[in-house]
Symmetry: C2
Subunit: 450 residues, 2 copies
C-alpha cells in the first residue's frame, strides 16, 4: 500500500461523512432546489482547507463557486465540476431515498453521486490528503463549480465573460466520464460539438379528414421528403458543405483507438440493441463513434399516434434533429448551411428553431499534461489507461478552451458503466471512490512541471 | 305548395315528436350505450306503419334492424342507415344537452341528428306520408339499420353473410352526405376504398443517448427513407403496380364534375388551409379529389416530441398510413404490393399491421335509378342537382354492392356543410328536414319502374 493510499484509508470515515453530507442536498437545477445550500456547503468545505472562495453571480443563474489555493508554483490546475444534479423521477423505482445517501455491499447510492458530486468531492479530498501530509499541493489549484450543468450550462458563457480572469490557469481537468467496460481508467481529449434544431411545418388550423388527401398539403410528407434529402441510407449527410471543415483523424489518433481495450459486444448488450450500423471490425465502429459527425433524428411527430387508426391529414409536423460535430466544425456554420439547403430544396416554409449550439473542443495528445495524467492513473489504478480523442457526447468545454484558452482533459473518474447516471438508483463503488482520491492526489503531484 | 308538402306540413308536429324521441336515446356505439333501446324504438315505429320487422343478431355486435313493407310492385328499395351516434366529447362545448333535442332559430340540436338519425327518420316519415295519403308506396321498401357504423361497421359483413337473403332488393339508398356549400342537393355514385396500415420498427429496448448516433440504427431515419420511396414530391405513389388497376374517369364522369356547382375557395376556407396542392383550375382539383387514390401519412411518431430538446436515438418509430382507393383497386392487392415493395427495398424488418381494409364501390351513372332520383330531388328542392362519381371518403358500401349485388346510391340528405357532424352542437335546419321527407316520398314514387 502506497503512502498516499494509507493516508486516504486513515481519513476515509471523515471523507465519507463529507460526501454523504454533500449528497444530502437535493440540488436539482431543473427544479431550482437547494442550489444555494449545496454551494454554501461546498464553499465552507473549501474555505476550511484554506481556499480563497467566492460566489460569482450572473442574472438568472445559480451561483458559480470559484475557489483557489496558492501552491508552491504558479502553474495552475483548474478543476471544472458541477454541484447540481438531475431530477429523481421516476421516484418509485428508487430502492433508497435519493437524498439519504446509503451504503450497501460496497456501493454508495444517492442522486448525483456518479454525476458529479462524487467526482467533485474526490478532488476536494485529494487536496485535503496532500494538505494532511503537511506539504500541500506543489501547484496552484482552482475549483470552478457551476450549478446548472444538468440544464445544459446556459449561463457558463456569461460567467466566463464576467469572471474569466478568475478562472484562468494552465490546464483544466473537466468532470470525468467513466471507466471502460472492462474497468480501465480512461482519459478523453475533448468532446464533440452540438447543433440542436427543431423543424416545424404547419399547414392547416386543424387536422383534416383524410378524404382531402388528394388536394391538401400534408406536412408529414413534406418533412419526410426534406429529411430524406438530409441524409441518405448510407448515413451520408447530404447538406452541401457539411463535411468541408471535418478534420480527419490523424495517424496518431487512429493508433490511440487501436491501443485501447474496448468491448464492443458488451456495449451492444448494455445498449439493448441487436446490431450496430456497421457489421465490420470493431475498430471501424470506433472510428465512426469518435470521428464521425452525425445528423440524428431525435424526434419526429405528426398527426395521430394513439392505438388503432385515425384517418387524418395532420395539421402540422415536427422533427427534432441533433448534429454532433467534430473538430473543427462550427455549429453556426452548419446551421447556415442547413438553412441554405432547405431553401434551395424549396422548404423555406419550414420553421427552424435552435435549441442548442455548442462548439467541439479538442486537446492535443502531445500536451505534456496528457502523459503526466496517464502516469498518475497507471500508478493509482495499476492498469493500462485508455486514451480517447474525444467523448462521443458534448459538454460546454469549448467555452473554456476557446474563451479562456484553457486546455481541458476529461480524466479518469469515479463512475463505472453501471452507475445509472440520470436514472434511479444512481450509485458508485466506494473502492473506486478511494482510488479516485488517490489518483487526483497523484495527478496534482505529477502535473507540476519539472 | 305541392300536395306532398301540404301533407307533410299538416303532420309536422307528430313527425318532430318522433324525431326528438329517437334522438333522446344516447345510442353511442363506442360506449355500448342504449343500443337496444334505440333499436327497439325504431322497430316499434316501423311496426306501427305496417312493416314486418326483425332484429338480426351476430355475436359481439349491436342488433341489426331489418324491416320490410310490401308495396304494389315487387321492385324493392333498400334504405341503409344506422341508429348509433358518435360520443359527445368534448361535452363542455355543447350549448345544449346532446340528448335533450332542442329547437332554436329553425335548427334542431342533438347528437346524431345530422349523422344519421335525422336522415333515417326522414325516410321513415316519407313512408308514413305516402301511407297517410291512403295509397302506400308503389314499390316495396326495406330498412336495413345497423348500430355500429360509427365504429367502422366491423360486423356488417357477418350480418350480410347470415341475413343477406333478407336484405336483397333492386336498389339501395345509402345514408346521405350533405348539401353543397351553395345549398344544392347532391347524389354520390359510390365511395372510395381504404387500406389503413401501421408500419413499426423497433431497434432497441430503450432510447439511447444520441452520442451513439454514429453506430446505432435509428428507426426514425429508416422509416423516413422508406416513406420517401413510397411517394415522391409530385405526389406520385412509388409502390410498383399501385396504379395498375386504377380506372381513369370516363368522359361522362368528367362532364359530371364540370356540370356541378362547387365553391373550391369556400372549401379551402372551411378547412382552414392557406392553399391546396394544386394551384390550377378548380376542375383539376376536383379531378384529384374524386379520382386520385392516395397514400397519406396520418401519423408519424418517434422519439421525443416535448418542448425543447432531448438528445436521443429513438428506440422505435411508427408511421400510420391510409390509402384511399378508387375503382377497381383492391385493398388486399395493394397491401401485398406494399409488402413486396418494402421487402425489395430492404425493409423486411419493419412490421406491418393492418387496421382497415375496405373495397371501393361504384354505381354506373347510367343506372335508371340515378335519373329518377335526380328528378325527385329537382322537384323537391327546386334546384339543380350535383352528381358526383363518388364521395372522396370511404364507407362499407362495397359489402352491399359486391356481396348483395345491390347498386347503392348516396342520395340528397338532411345535413348541410355546417352541421357539425361528430362535433359539439351537431344540428340540422328543420326546413331541410321537411324537404328531405318530401324528397324521399317523391323518390319512392319515382323509383317505381314504368
Amino acid at each position: 500500500m502506497s503512502q498516499l493510499s494509507e493516508e486516504i484509508a486513515s481519513r476515509s470515515a471523515g471523507y465519507l461523512d463529507d460526501l454523504k453530507a454533500f449528497l444530502s442536498f437535493p440540488s436539482i437545477s431543473a427544479e431550482g432546489r437547494a442550489l444555494e445550500e449545496a454551494s454554501d456547503f461546498l464553499m465552507g468545505k473549501l474555505r476550511s482547507l484554506g481556499f480563497n472562495v467566492s460566489k460569482a453571480r450572473v442574472d438568472g443563474a445559480p451561483p458559480l463557486v470559484i475557489a483557489d489555493l496558492k501552491g508552491r508554483s504558479d502553474y495552475t490546475l483548474v478543476f471544472y465540476n458541477h454541484y447540481d444534479v438531475q431530477p429523481v423521477d421516476p421516484i418509485s423505482e428508487w430502492r433508497t431515498d435519493p437524498f439519504s445517501p446509503t451504503v450497501s455491499e460496497g456501493r454508495l447510492f444517492a442522486r448525483g453521486v456518479a454525476d458529479d458530486k462524487g467526482d467533485l468531492m474526490a478532488r476536494v479530498h485529494a487536496v485535503e490528503t496532500l494538505l494532511a501530509r503537511g506539504e500541500g499541493p506543489p501547484i496552484s489549484v482552482k475549483f470552478v463549480v457551476e450549478g446548472e450543468e444538468e440544464e445544459g450550462s446556459p449561463h457558463l458563457k456569461d460567467y466566463v465573460e464576467k469572471y474569466g480572469s478568475l478562472m484562468k490557469g494552465d490546464v483544466c481537468l473537466w468532470e470525468g466520464f467513466e471507466t471502460s467496460t472492462d474497468g480501465r481508467p480512461q482519459v478523453f481529449l475533448g468532446c464533440k460539438g452540438l447543433l440542436y434544431v427543431e423543424l416545424k411545418l404547419s399547414t392547416a388550423s386543424a387536422d383534416l379528414h383524410s378524404m382531402y388527401g388528394p388536394i391538401a398539403v400534408n406536412p408529414a410528407w413534406r418533412l419526410v421528403w426534406l429529411m430524406a434529402k438530409m441524409k441518405d441510407e448510407s448515413e451520408k449527410v447530404l447538406i452541401p458543405g457539411f463535411y468541408d471543415d471535418v478534420v480527419p483523424p490523424t495517424e496518431e489518433e487512429l493508433e490511440m483507438l487501436a491501443r485501447n481495450s474496448y468491448d464492443v459486444d458488451a456495449l451492444r448488450r448494455s445498449l439493448g440493441v441487436r446490431s450496430f450500423l456497421r457489421a465490420g471490425p470493431d475498430l471501424e465502429l470506433l472510428k465512426d463513434l469518435y470521428f464521425q459527425p452525425t445528423c440524428n433524428i431525435a424526434g419526429f411527430s405528426s398527426g395521430y399516434s394513439g392505438p388503432g387508426s385515425k384517418t387524418i391529414v395532420p395539421r402540422e409536423a415536427t422533427v427534432k434533429i441533433d448534429f454532433r460535430l467534430v473538430p473543427s466544425q462550427d455549429p453556426a456554420k452548419v446551421l447556415a448551411r442547413l438553412k441554405e439547403h432547405m431553401l434551395s430544396l424549396g422548404y423555406g416554409d419550414v420553421q427552424v428553431k435552435v435549441f442548442g449550439e455548442e462548439a467541439p473542443a479538442k486537446v492535443s495528445p502531445e500536451a505534456p499534461e496528457v502523459r503526466r495524467l496517464v502516469e498518475a492513473a497507471k500508478e493509482s489504478y495499476g492498469s493500462e489507461v485508455n486514451i480517447w480523442p474525444t467523448i462521443p457526447a458534448t459538454g460546454p468545454m469549448a467555452i473554456f478552451v476557446n474563451e479562456l484558452g484553457l486546455p481541458s482533459l476529461m480524466p479518469p473518474s469515479v463512475p463505472y458503466p453501471g452507475s445509472s447516471y440520470h436514472a434511479p438508483n444512481e450509485h458508485i463503488m466506494l473502492s473506486q471512490y478511494w482510488k479516485s482520491v488517490e489518483f487526483f492526489s497523484r495527478a496534482i503531484l505529477k502535473l507540476a512541471p519539472p
